[in-house]
Amino acid sequence: MSQPRFEGSRNYVTTPDLMLAVNAAIRLQRPLLIKGEPGTGKTMLAEEVAAALELPLLQWHIKSTTKAQQGLYEYDAVSRLRDSQLGDDRVKDIGNYIVKGVLWQAFEAERPTVVLIDEIDKADIEFPNDLLRELDRMEFHVYETRQTIQARHRPIVFITSNNEKELPDAFLRRCFFHYIKFPDRDTMQRIVDVHFPGIRKELLREALEVFFGLRDIPGLKKKPSTSELIDWLKLLVAEDIPPEALHSPDGKAAIPPLHGALLKNEQDVHLFERLVHMARLNR
């Protein structure tokens, strides 16, 4: 069987190293762990790979209360108890009360699937360890019905992490790892081209200048990320801001319009305004 290959997609710009990591994960059927600054498109990667390979995507968003078991199945004991009190016939078959989780759905799917385990670091510290065997052997046992579920096709698993907790070594050893670094200017240009094909060249150039200038300011609490740039451009285009507005003609520093989309913290905005003010005085 020829393995599918991911070559990037129309909506998502990948760097060669990311593409290589994705293809290695697909080829060797191991999970791919993705880390990176917030807003660099970790979650989008799984969506785009699924779309590009035309495979169904199953998403599992992790919260601090999520248990590993919930990804496999849950035994709805409470409804069974209630049904038993009401004398419902369904109660005789325990299988009626087994709720399938994301991994079960992926394992029994007719064709390979893409599974996204989003923000795995949100969960309890033991969570990744509880999934070791399931991700490794792609099988698990259902105690209630005494059956073993085995994957028909090994799903392509993407795991994202925001680095809030360290993941256990045993888990890491079974994954490929890729750290999405912040895109450089050229990659950023490609990303913006993908999102706004019609954007005027000069507006984009000025906007990127302002954006990378902002990221260079030391001391910002939250540097603007790719997704914030995209939002800001959306606003600029919607408001029909001319490129000159981003760059004052007399060479004086100016506060870019709609900067609220880029700076999300009032201390940052304040710092930025002070810097602009200082720059003006110096001229």
């Binding site: 290589l20 290695a24 409470v78 680095n163 790892f177």
Partner: protein
């Protein structure tokens, strides 16, 4: 042949395992990556390195091992003129620029280029990367072009070998300490407990209660889990701490967000009978330290943040404080606090290697029973580990 490479990585203290190495070989057999060394580098990194803070170490180790394999085209860096000019402008202060302009741009460019070549050569020799240093006319030790991408699109990216750029340098260990990283480190102190309103179904309790109820459903609820750790934070302000304002600010804001039960007080140099909450009114509104001890129970974790840099008199002698007449010595008050709170740590923003040279740091280090940690990510992690032990 790659066994040596694997052992080399191990020797460079990268936590690589046999399993990951076998995965690498499997991938090579399956032709996951192309034949170029760049592809191999990326694939090896995805297989073997599972933490971006180790990327830099991997880059160095990879460079050392494969420095013989240099038959890759485009090895020499070709720097465009405008880029050089832009770099020069970016890194020079106006005075330096004025001084340099006397020398003339062309000469400077030559010098700059020579410097670059030299640096590259030195690295090829296998020794550590050396910055241009303070004596250089370029003024800024961060001027290595290796940190900045050279060249335009991906087609000529191979102009500089990827690992030699060492883009992940600042992700290594103790260097970067933003609020986010601090929060992550503080999170190790989490201790979950069930408190407050009963909102969650307690399944086990329900089953047990129902069984006791002879099969009639008896729903049991319980409160959700929350982080119940309590922290008492003492921050040194003013004087020699001014150099560390920023890192302390970051630590403080991270603490505020991370701990729901956080009580904080300020002191100057050493704690005495009174501490304060508001720096603007520090002389008028003081909280007696005994009140603090009586008010907050021993389940609070005690964290000091201070450089412990002062005259030893301020710690050891009554009336030693530089600000007021203290009847009892700082050491007495410190010990009182430490007795009241068994879980304690002192975070020191001064680099650990300097501790041995300052008598006062040594003294405090002794008083807190060796529980002094540097205010770096790694030190913070150690401190949190120490605090979360059972006392």
């Amino acid at each position: 042949m790659l066994i040596d490479f694997f052992l080399h990585l191990k020797a460079r203290k990268l936590p690589v395992s046999t399993r990951e190495f076998l995965t690498l070989l499997e991938g090579l057999r399956e032709h996951v990556c192309g034949h170029s060394i760049d592809d191999f580098y990326h694939f090896a990194r995805a297989c073997l390195v599972k933490d971006e803070s180790l990327y830099d170490r991997f880059d160095q180790a990879f460079g050392e091992y494969f420095k013989g394999v240099s038959a890759i085209p485009g090895l020499e860096v070709d720097l465009p003129e405008e880029w050089l000019r832009a770099m020069m402008k970016k890194h020079l202060t106006p005075e330096e620029r004025a001084k340099l302009e006397k020398l003339g741009w062309d000469k400077l460019m030559d010098e700059f280029r020579k410097r670059l070549a030299e640096q590259k050569g030195r690295h090829q020799g296998g020794s550590k990367w050396i910055g241009t240093g303070g004596s250089s006319p370029f003024g800024n030790s961060g001027t290595h072009p290796e940190g900045i991408r050279v060249g335009g699109d991906s087609a000529n990216r191979s102009a500089v070998k990827v690992w030699e750029k060492r883009e992940f340098r600042n992700l290594d260990d103790a260097v970067e300490l933003g609020t986010r990283n601090i929060k992550v480190a503080l999170r190790r102190l989490r201790r979950f407990a069930r408190e407050g309103a009963a909102e969650e179904l307690d399944l086990d309790g329900t089953i047990a209660a129902t069984a006791r109820n002879a099969g009639w459903l008896d729903l049991m609820m319980r409160p959700e889990r929350h982080n119940a750790v309590k922290v008492l934070l003492f921050l040194d302000v003013g004087g020699s701490m001014d150099d560390h304002v920023r890192v302390c600010e970051e630590l403080f804001s991270a603490c505020r967000l991370e701990f729901k039960h956080l009580e904080y007080f300020y002191f100057h140099n050493c704690v005495y009978e009174g501490v304060w909450r508001d720096n603007a009114r520090r002389h008028r509104e003081r909280t007696p330290l005994l009140d603090v001890i009586h008010k907050y129970g021993p389940d609070y974790k005690l964290i000091f943040v201070g450089d412990a840099t002062m005259s030893p008199y301020e710690i050891l002698h009554p009336h030693g404080s530089i600000e007021h007449m203290n009847a009892e010595s700082g050491a007495t008050w410190l010990r009182r606090l430490l007795d009241a709170y068994p879980a304690a740590a002192w975070l020191n923003p001064e680099p650990e290697r300097l501790w041995g040279y300052r008598q006062s740091i040594q003294l405090i280090h002794e008083i807190v029973g060796g529980r002094m940690y540097p205010l770096t990510l790694e030190g913070l992690a150690r401190a949190m580990q120490g605090l979360s032990k059972k006392h």
